[in-house]
C-alpha cells in the first residue's frame, strides 16, 4: 500500500515570505498523481496544485509551485509571497494511475501559520 509522509506538523512564515512544505511518499508504481490540498479552519478542503508523475516539469499555480523529485519520491510545496489567507492545514495526497487503486491516500498534514 502507498504511504504519504508529512514530517512537519507545523510551519510558520512571515507574511510576504516564502515557505516550503515537505512530503515524501512510498510506491512501487510508475503511473500516479500527487496533490496538495488546503483545509482552512472549519472549511472544506480544496485542491491547491496537482502533479502527474509522467511529467518532468514541476507544476505551478500562481504563488504555489512544487518540487517533484520522482527518484527521491519527494513532492514539496513552495508558497511564495505568503498571505494571511494561506493559513490552513495542508495535506499531501497520492493517487494511483491506470491499473492501480483510485483511492487517494493522504498524509497527516502540516499546519501553516502566517504571521503578519
Amino acid at each position: 500500500a502507498q504511504t504519504v509522509t508529512q514530517s512537519q506538523p507545523e510551519m510558520s512564515v512571515q507574511e510576504a515570505e516564502t515557505v516550503t512544505l515537505s512530503c515524501t511518499y512510498d510506491t512501487s508504481e510508475s503511473d500516479y498523481y500527487l496533490f496538495w490540498y488546503k483545509q482552512p479552519p472549519s472549511r472544506q478542503m480544496i485542491l491547491v496544485i496537482r502533479q502527474e508523475a509522467y511529467k518532468q516539469q514541476n507544476a505551478t499555480e500562481n504563488r504555489f509551485s512544487v518540487n517533484f523529485q520522482k527518484a527521491a519520491k519527494s513532492f514539496s510545496l513552495k508558497i511564495s509571497d505568503s498571505q494571511l489567507g494561506d493559513a490552513a492545514m495542508y495535506f499531501c495526497a497520492y493517487r494511483s494511475g491506470t491499473g492501480g487503486s483510485y483511492i487517494p491516500t493522504f498524509g497527516r498534514g502540516t499546519s501553516l501559520i502566517v504571521h503578519p
Binding site: V4, Q6, Y33, F35, Y37, S42, R43, Q44, M45, I46, L47, R50, E52, F91, R95, S101, Y102, I103, P104, T105, F106, G107, R108, G109
Partner: protein, 115 residues
C-alpha cells in the same frame, strides 16, 4: 448542486446511539468517497462508491459502520451503537470521471462528537 453538501454539520450523540450522516455529491459525479478525519490528523479512507456500487469498504473500522448510495447520487454513512472513538469529522468527496487526474471535491464535513 454547485458543490458537495453534507448534513448535519455537527452531531452530538450519546454513546450507544445510532447516527446517520448524509452526503449529496456534485451532480453527475460518479465516484464518491467517505473519509474519517480525527482531530489533528489527515483523512483516513473509509469507503468508495462508483454509482450505486460500493467498490471498496476496506477502511470501515468495524461492522458498526455501514454506507449506502442506493440511487447512485446521495450517500448515507450510518454508525450504529456509537463509541467515543468514533468522534471525528466525516468527510465526503466526489470525483468527476472526466478528470483523469482525480481531483476530489470535498464537502465541509460532519463533525461527530460521541459523549
Amino acid at each position: 448542486g454547485a458543490g458537495v453538501s453534507q448534513s448535519p454539520r455537527y452531531k452530538v450523540a450519546k454513546r450507544g446511539q445510532d447516527v446517520a450522516l448524509r452526503c449529496d455529491p456534485i451532480s453527475g459525479h460518479v465516484s464518491l468517497f467517505w473519509y474519517q478525519q480525527a482531530l489533528g490528523q489527515g483523512p483516513e479512507f473509509l469507503t468508495y462508491f462508483q454509482n450505486e456500487a460500493q467498490l471498496d469498504k476496506s477502511g470501515l473500522p468495524s461492522d458498526r459502520f455501514f454506507a449506502e448510495r442506493p440511487e447512485g447520487s446521495v450517500s448515507t454513512l450510518k454508525i450504529q451503537r456509537t463509541q467515543q472513538e468514533d468522534s471525528a469529522v466525516y468527510l465526503c468527496a466526489s470525483l468527476s470521471t472526466g478528470d483523469a487526474t482525480g481531483e476530489l471535491f470535498f464537502g465541509e464535513g460532519s463533525r461527530l462528537t460521541v459523549l
